[in-house]
């Protein structure tokens, strides 16, 4: 049995040490948020927070997790009482199929917890590892800007210097 802490709760799971964290979250702990997208760390749909940093859970074997704390979208609130980032995504209607959205929210959460006044360029660079194929980018960015305000900051619009 392997012990891990997810969303503040300790769990014991029966899984091989090389099992990626994603499979344990989805199948053993029955958490739907983190998604399998590529298994290669290229799309970000599996993004969760490990000790407050965004990681690709599809690439992190259980053996590498140690006693670091895992947070998933389920830890940010519920459909009825969403946290500020999911609430902003709902307000902006920032989803189409929505398969990428839990990963988007977790990556945005990591940024805003660390820096709730990023510049627009920092915001876009930070979100770059996560792919969306529906083209919901404009709404996702709007949602993160809204969440930044809700979290006491705000995204700084910077005019780009022209050469």
């Amino acid at each position: 049995m392997i012990s891990l802490t997810v969303n503040g709760k300790q769990h014991e799971v029966d899984a091989d040490l090389d099992t990626p964290l994603l499979y344990v979250l989805r199948n053993d702990l029955e958490l739907n948020g983190a998604k399998f997208g590529c298994g290669l760390g290229q799309c970000g749909s599996c993004t969760v927070l490990v000790d407050d940093k965004p990681v690709f859970s599809c690439l992190m074997p259980l053996a590498a997790l140690g006693n670091r704390k895992v947070r998933t979208i389920e830890g940010l609130g519920t459909a009825d009482k969403p946290g500020p980032v999911p609430a902003a995504f709902e307000t902006e209607q920032a989803a189409q199929c929505g398969y990428c959205i839990a990963g988007m929210i977790m990556r945005a959460q990591a940024l805003l917890e660390r820096n709730n006044r990023p510049t627009e360029a920092e915001l876009r660079a930070h979100m770059a590892p996560n792919l969306c194929r529906c083209g919901t980018h404009m709404r996702i960015l709007a949602a993160v800007r809204r969440a930044a305000v809700a979290m006491g900051g705000g995204v700084q619009q910077q005019a780009e210097a022209k050469p």
Binding site: D18, R26, A102
Partner: protein, 736 residues
Amino acid sequence: MTALSRRNVLAGGGALVVGFSLARGAAAQHESKSALPVDLAKSPMLDSWIRIDADGKVTVFTGKAELGQGLRTALIQVAADELAVGPESIELVTADTARTPDEGVTAGSHSMQDSGTAILNAASNVRALLAEAAAWRFAMAVEQVEMHDGAAHSLNGQSATYGELAAMLDLHVEAKPNMPRRARSTVIGQDLPRVDIPAKVSGGQTYVQDMRLPGMLHARVVRGPSDGTRLKDQNLDEIAKMPGVVRVVHEAGFLAVVAQKEWHAVKALQRMQSAGWVRPGEPLPTTDIRDTIRKLPAEDVPIFNYPGPPAPTDGKVVKARYSRPCLMHGSIGPSCAVAQWDNDSVTVWTHSQGVGPLRKSLSELLRLPLEKVRCIHVEGSGCYGHNAADDVAGDAALAARAVPGRPVRLQWMREQEHGWEPLGPAMTVELQATLGGDGKVAGWRHDVWSNEHNSRPQTGGGLLAGMELGFPHQKVRPIPMPEGGGARNGNPIYALPNASGVFHFVEQAPVRVSALRGLGAQMNVFSIESFMDELAHAAGADPVAFRLAHLQDDRARETIQTVVDEFGWAKRPKGGGGHGTGFAFARYKNLAAYCAIALEIDVDRESGVISVERVVVAVDSGEAVNPNGIRNQIEGGIVQSLSWTVNEAVGFDSQHRTSFDWSAYPILRFPQAPKKIEVHVIDRPRQPFLGTGEASQGPASAALGNAVADAVGIRVRDMPITPDRLKTALANRAGS
């Protein structure tokens, strides 16, 4: 399914469908069905679409599926509005071969036009029946009954809930055509928040990928790296002994592994993949796929023919050739299905766009009578057309057959999705026009070469597993106009004299292709709208004015004018020095939504990188049921199309696809997204719904190409307009 058995299923669901009948009786049966909307004519019984329980709960049925386009919410709005109930009191049941009307495939931007219109008309009928029942109960004329908030009210203060009234009615009656709509809309036209989004932002169970059934096993299908390859033979007994493996399913060319835990299935798959692979058939041509296709034998299918006098011999002749490569659907979540066998029947939970056709394919594949196969749609990752959703349903059904009684969840891996999904076909378009002395088009010719954009499964051989079991390949035929496949939108909306077009249908498909969002429309519109700019340039005219001079459709003109005003087209900065603007317009299929786009870009002349500064769009989707939903679809279509246009091309070598993951097939990421997209929805209350999901891709790619030409003076006619290609073109020009 017969009406009788459907009724049994419905009765089993607890609805009161039998009661005091105020049915119109036989007279309704003899009225012409042709006046009904198409899907309602196919399933004319009202209780196929709408049921009302004794407690007033309304259940609405659609044969279409939620694909992330917001259809669920929009259909609830349509039904709620016309029934005069709150949207929260409606439960919508989507595509399920055992429960819903067969509405074919959720594709072609048809869902609002087909299902939305059918539900609207069915709801008008049901509301009229409820009003008649209330009038009878109140002993008043029906004109003195008002319906709102899920109840009927009389002018003298009586009221009855829909639940009470429904208990007096039998809704198993045929719909009547041309029933009047409610005088005033209260739900249609509102930005109702999407009903599916709360679960999607909170980790709710939404997708077929999220399904967990009691006793469920996990499976992976085992294939070579891409379409046309297979793994070398190997010792499957060794695989069967791997930890957690429950079964290795091997039947002819089909191979899958079933395991207790998903990770065990993945590990078994990876071990089998390491055995190496071969390409048994012909090697792939090493020329660019679009050139390969253009040179293969073709069947010439006329697209359109607009009459007019011959072009003047002294007119200015302009010619151009445009092309696009093969494109990927590129769903973020690899395709998935859950299947379960019980007593020689199978249930498949699937994100296929067409549960009806899939059911037929599966019944052939599994050699089961149709009634032994049930397909239930559950949302998946966005598909954007015919991706691997159907194939994986076949794979899961075969894997599940080996372990009867146990549900089996089978998801493809990333490299399988990239390697095996049917691609959007490569295309070439040649255009030729003659400009008359008045600066207007005097002759026009459109030639388009492509495989057909539709190999959606209809038979066992339409599924990959079916091909592996030796079922005959499906024959592909051209989709006729006015919808068209490769020919889609090849008929210009402009009033052009002496104009014709031919679809050079190439039957032989060296690589696996099928329907990708918009089918041929993206390429045909890119070509026509690029060419209109080239002609305007040749005629010395403003590109928008040139279009308007050839355009008679009033709604098209108003859509364009909206963008011209909102963008400030007249005051736009002069193009050049790496800064430019571009415009394009199309009406999808010349039947669905109108969409005009203007955009402004910067091109970094050192790197060739394009930054989209702003995009202004106008869209006329007819009656706008959910304007914010329309904006979401249009924005998404633009961003996806910019990715196609600037980034994407599937690569091949002589043996296989080389675009095996997101590093080899890079799509648009956040830093590349436009700075701003502004969508103006032109509402047309009480006009027919016009499909919107595929309206913006063609205009977006053409507007970008036009902006590039304006910014750097180079016309790029072959997509993708990658930074490297642009950089090289700029360097070549500087050197010449």
